[in-house]
Amino acid sequence: MGNNVKALCLALLLLVPVFAWSAESNVSAVIQGGVTMPDDDQWKTFYGDDNYSHAGMTLGWRVMRFFEAGLGIIYASDSGVGQFSVSGQAGGKVLLETYPTTLYGLVRLQFTETQWLVPYLGIGYDKVYYKLAIQDQERRKGSLEGTHVRFGLQLLMDNIDKNAAAGLHDFGIEHVYFVLESTQREAKDDGAGVDLGGTLYSAGFLFQF
């Protein structure tokens, strides 16, 4: 599954120059933040809460009116405790930092350039880099591979303040959207019994150039 998604996303990226003519504005950047609800149901036991915050950005290329491919990176961290290896008691401070990088493809249901609400659906290949700082122990770092499915709504902001929108044109920004998104990420290593997957709820702004 992961390799297939990776291949599909790469193919979409490679097709960018071929279809670049087909859309009026081709490049977009999204800045977003939100919360991650980990799939792992023991998360709360060790981190005190069943969610943690994240922030990130993506760069997208609009291949055709309905298709977009892109790259993204997110930073997320959570601090909690570990457990002692023999007694199993909770103890020792732990700081987990993850940097999921993603290669994605989206279908945007946009029929006109001025459509005020654009739903979208996408899939992507993820490489979730991580760093674990453990009290009095060596740092760990590595990565897990994964995939994701995402769904979201993009609300065109241009009509809310036309003057501001016109001002942004001077900076090459054609449209600004407010974005609400939900992402379901799978990133686990069954052999090692670890899971960095979860559901991400994000909000942010999309700038279309």
């Binding site: 792992d40 023991q42 998360w43 036991t45 060790f46 981190y47 909690g80 570990g82 457990q83 002692f84 290896s85 023999v86 007694s87 103890g91 020792g92 732990v94 987990l96 991580y130 674990l132 453990i134 009290q135 009095d136 122990q137 060596e138 740092r139 760990r140 770092k141 590595g142 990565s143 897990l144 090692a192 019994g193 670890v194 899971d195 960095l196």
Partner: protein, 593 residues
């Protein structure tokens, strides 16, 4: 028709009165407000009570005419000053501003700003003064700026005085004809000290001292030149730009009322920072227990602003700012403290019992804490492996907490804490200034020594606790993907051979840019190879053999003491030279035949 009721008129009258009253009150409050803003406030950095931890916090809080005072420490630019304020350090040499990127450390965009008693270390530009007038920059140190120490653009009537510029590309950049004054500074070892003065230039350069600059630029009037005799400018741990009595950077100044010999630079003039740098090279020893006498010595501070030294002493407790017992050593750098100076023979005391002893375990560590015991001057800690009585760890501390490290995980240790009384004197040396003799150098690490008066300890009642240090398993238990090939070859991550290679990586590769690049390349490219090695027993054995030389070098560098390293080198040398001789003999033998 009913007559109009009277109350609206009354109400109207009342409202008018209320309105007048409110206007008066507002006017009064406004006056109060104006009054408040006219009174200069002093903002300390840091000031935890007011949530000010950085200069930027203080600048945001400050109003016009406020005074921002920085405690000794290291601060980061870039910072923007757009208010009429004074920014000053409390000790010039120990209040250091460093660059946080290529931008100027300080950008000044306001009039009547004063910057003083600060050290600007490194970076591209220290101070960028743009479109502002009457800015005073004085008694600062500027060192190692790659572009310019002070860049004055579109500004006039700046006073740049009593600063030291050392080893900068450009010390001061000025536009011509802006009526800026540059006087009584020291320019040493800069590429360019000052711009050339052109005909009709209204900038004024006066009484500056120049030494070993590639270009002095427009020297101006009354210039001096020669070695300023800085004390230790090259010591990056603590640069010392104080000047010595023999400095060439001084002149006769008839306007001065304090001293006819006026020095230039940061430590010249009438209002330099007078706090001496902390004493260095402090040593102390017990000369005699009865009568009590102790010898104390330290390194002489060569600054002309140092008037002498005080040797503080305190029985059983560390010297702090409240300690009042001291002996004035004058300008000597050694002194013997005797009972006549105030030393008192300690009286034996019996400490009580340790209570509230608790142990927190961690990876190869046990952290202990307990209630401080009356009369105890220290605590002996002994941790014994209950399964192996030969493994004993000992520690002595003076506070009521300790961490024992280097323990074996999953082994239970019996840990005892014994309080003791052992009389000792704490001795600290503080230099004082030559002007008022009241400005004392700071109490920092190294200026205080502890002298034990009597080796015998009076023991109190011990307490004991058992604890088992354990490794911490994080959640999720994500693996560390370091040393891929070695891990594959030796079979498991915690193999001692893999640990040796990790130690080598941490100590010799990750400490330099080339090594980090090599490690990054290895981590990028090795996982596929590691996967192949892991799958084939023959390859695992071959890899282990191939890794042996690297393992040997890594072990040699990371795990052997210096004497062991020398011994191994000698053995290698003897073996190799013996081998070469043997080869030579074999060749000679074959030729002889």
């Amino acid at each position: 028709m009913f007559p109009a009721p009277r109350y609206p008129a009354l109400l109207q009258q009342a409202n008018t009165k209320s309105l007048i009253f409110m206007v008066k009150m507002l006017g009064f409050l406004a006056l109060l407000g104006l009054g408040q803003s006219a009174v200069a406030a002093t903002i300390q950095v840091p000031d935890e009570d007011n949530h000010i931890t950085t200069i930027a916090d203080a600048l945001a809080e400050a109003n016009d005419n406020d005074d921002i005072v920085l405690a000794p420490g290291e601060y980061k630019g870039p910072l923007v000053i757009d208010k009429k304020i004074t920014l000053r350090g409390s000790e010039t040499a120990r209040t250091v501003i460093k660059a946080g990127g290529d931008q100027p450390m300080l950008s000044i965009h306001a009039n009547d700003v004063t910057i003083r008693y600060l050290t600007f270390d490194g970076g591209e530009t220290a101070i960028d003064q743009t479109d502002s007038i009457r800015v005073t920059i004085e008694y600062n140190i500027f060192v190692d700026q790659n572009s310019a120490s002070i860049d004055v653009i579109g500004s006039s009537d700046a006073q740049i005085q009593y600063n030291t510029f050392y080893s900068n590309t450009n010390a001061v950049l000025l536009e011509s004809d802006q009526s800026n004054l540059v006087e009584r500074n020291i320019f040493a070892r800069n590429d360019v000290a000052l711009p050339a003065l052109i005909a009709g230039d209204s900038n004024s350069f006066d009484f500056n001292c120049y030494f070993n600059n590639s270009q002095d630029g427009g020297k101006g009037e009354n210039a001096a030149s020669g070695n300023p005799m800085f004390i230790d400018p090259g010591n990056t741990a603590q640069r010392d730009f104080h000047i010595q009595e023999t400095s060439a950077c001084k002149s006769e100044d008839p306007g001065d009322t304090v001293d006819t010999s006026i020095y230039f630079g940061t430590y010249g003039g009438n209002t330099p920072d007078l706090v001496p740098l902390p004493a260095q090279g402090v040593g102390a020893s017990l000369q005699s227990a009865d009568p009590l006498a102790m010898d104390v010595q330290w390194q002489e501070n060569l600054s002309y602003l140092v008037g002498g030294y005080r040797v503080y002493f305190s029985l059983n407790t560390a010297v702090d700012d409240a300690t009042t017992d001291f002996k004035d050593a004058g300008d000597a750098s050694t002194v013997t403290l005797v009972e006549a100076d105030g030393l008192t023979k300690p009286v034996a005391a019996q400490p009580g019992a340790v209570t509230k002893l608790s142990a927190l375990i961690s990876n190869q560590r046990i952290r202990l804490s307990w209630a401080a015991v009356d009369q105890a001057t220290g605590y002996d800690i002994v941790a014994t492996n209950t399964a192996n009585a030969d493994e004993v760890h000992t520690l002595s501390v003076t506070n009521a907490s300790a961490t024992i490290s280097g323990l074996t995980n999953d082994q239970t240790y019996s840990v005892s804490v014994t309080p003791y009384y052992q009389a000792s004197y704490y001795i600290a040396v503080r230099a004082y200034d030559s002007v008022n003799k009241t400005q004392l150098s700071a109490l920092v690490d190294g200026v205080e020594k502890r002298i034990i008066i009597n080796d015998a300890k009076t023991l109190g009642t011990a307490a004991a606790v058992e604890a088992t240090p354990q490794a911490i398993q994080p959640y999720p238990d994500l693996p560390n993907e370091g040393c891929y090939i070695a891990t594959a070859a030796y079979g498991f991550y915690s193999a001692p051979q893999v640990q040796v290679l990790r130690d080598f990586r941490d100590q010799y590769l990750l400490t330099n840019s080339w090594g980090r690049a090599l490690v990054a390349w290895y981590y990028r490219t090795s996982p596929p190879w590691a996967a192949v090695v892991k799958e084939h027993a023959g390859l695992r054995a071959a890899t282990r053999i191939a890794l042996l030389p690297l393992l040997g070098v890594a072990y040699y560098l990371t795990h052997l003491q210096p004497w062991q390293q020398v011994l191994v080198l000698m053995l290698l040398w003897f073996t190799l030279s013996g081998f070469v001789r043997l080869l030579g003999r074999i060749r000679l033998g074959s030729h002889g035949e």
